[in-house]
Symmetry: C2
Amino acid sequence: MPQVRVESFTISLDGYGAGPDQDLSHPLGVGGEALHGWALATRTFQKHLFGSDGGEAGIDDDYAARGFHNVGAWILGRNMFGPVRGPWPDDRWRGWWGDNPVYRVPVFVLTNHDRPPLVMEGGTTFHFVTEGAAVALERALAAAAGRDVRVGGGVNVIQQYLRLRLIDELHVAIAPVLLGRGERLFDGVDLHALGYTCTKHEASARATHVVLTRQ
Amino acid sequence: MPQVRVESFTISLDGYGAGPDQDLSHPLGVGGEALHGWALATRTFQKHLFGSDGGEAGIDDDYAARGFHNVGAWILGRNMFGPVRGPWPDDRWRGWWGDNPVYRVPVFVLTNHDRPPLVMEGGTTFHFVTEGAAVALERALAAAAGRDVRVGGGVNVIQQYLRLRLIDELHVAIAPVLLGRGERLFDGVDLHALGYTCTKHEASARATHVVLTRQ
């Protein structure tokens, strides 16, 4: 059975998955980049993001790598795709990731504003879905053709899928930083009542990694 | 300078310092005991709570032990002292900890309802303070006579002292459990704006330990 997974989603010690005041120069909100120190240091992210052979092996890299394993499609929220809000003024915004995005599979972007599919280099096509989270997942599962679907975020999108009990497993990294404000991953989501438990728990020098599994 | 410290305060992965529905049989709220697995396994807690020579050494025990080092007085919220709410019906409630409580120093209990001091065995005296958090701290510092003051909790009391910027250092343990509901330690407290940063971060098999320090 294909799984629906959240991977390498990082929160601060005070629970925020993004900082406040997101804009073009702060895609993760003010202070939000500090969340991702653990990921940027890994071989996996160095390779996927920068085509570099640098980066470290170890616990952090093991978690980063599993996030790209057997993923046949992604789902992203519109705010994660870009800073444009409201109707698309034109088709110029093509994501944060350049001409050859890291995904290399179909990516379904949840939005209220339709737009034609955007075919990028390297296998990534952005599909814009206006029919809601459940429909986006159906389409993603079909596109993944037996492989898993990774729900990339942001916070609001993950919360929608958690409340629908559609996530099989979440890997959450807890970074040793305090953001103070922003979007809390677990606000208004009672994971205990939804049937999730922590099935794995280990830490590196840069983050604590936990895996939450639906029973 | 004596420090004002929070020690061994445990939260769940979803940020709760106590579960919902506290009562006499659930002093930490429903599910709240699961937070303290790491602490109960330590030598320090086995000795302080049960007079036992059992328990484990290691990271967890190092943190448990530092929590009792150089502490000259404690501050507790009234709900941590007991389940009685509103005016004291009589003086029969003497805390959760038997005739010889673990504190062995003066303990200042924040309450809206005055009550004479309660002298216990072993050096613990419970003083009931109705003049608020700042006054309780003054009295605790005076009683501690140069040693530190440990703010024991619960969540609401720690939040009061954090907002007043009166806590020098917090050791928070993050237990690999999900409570889903309850009291969140960091709700309505912007630790970043208050000037706190994470100065230490390490994990055992049972918990992640972080130290937050006021700059």
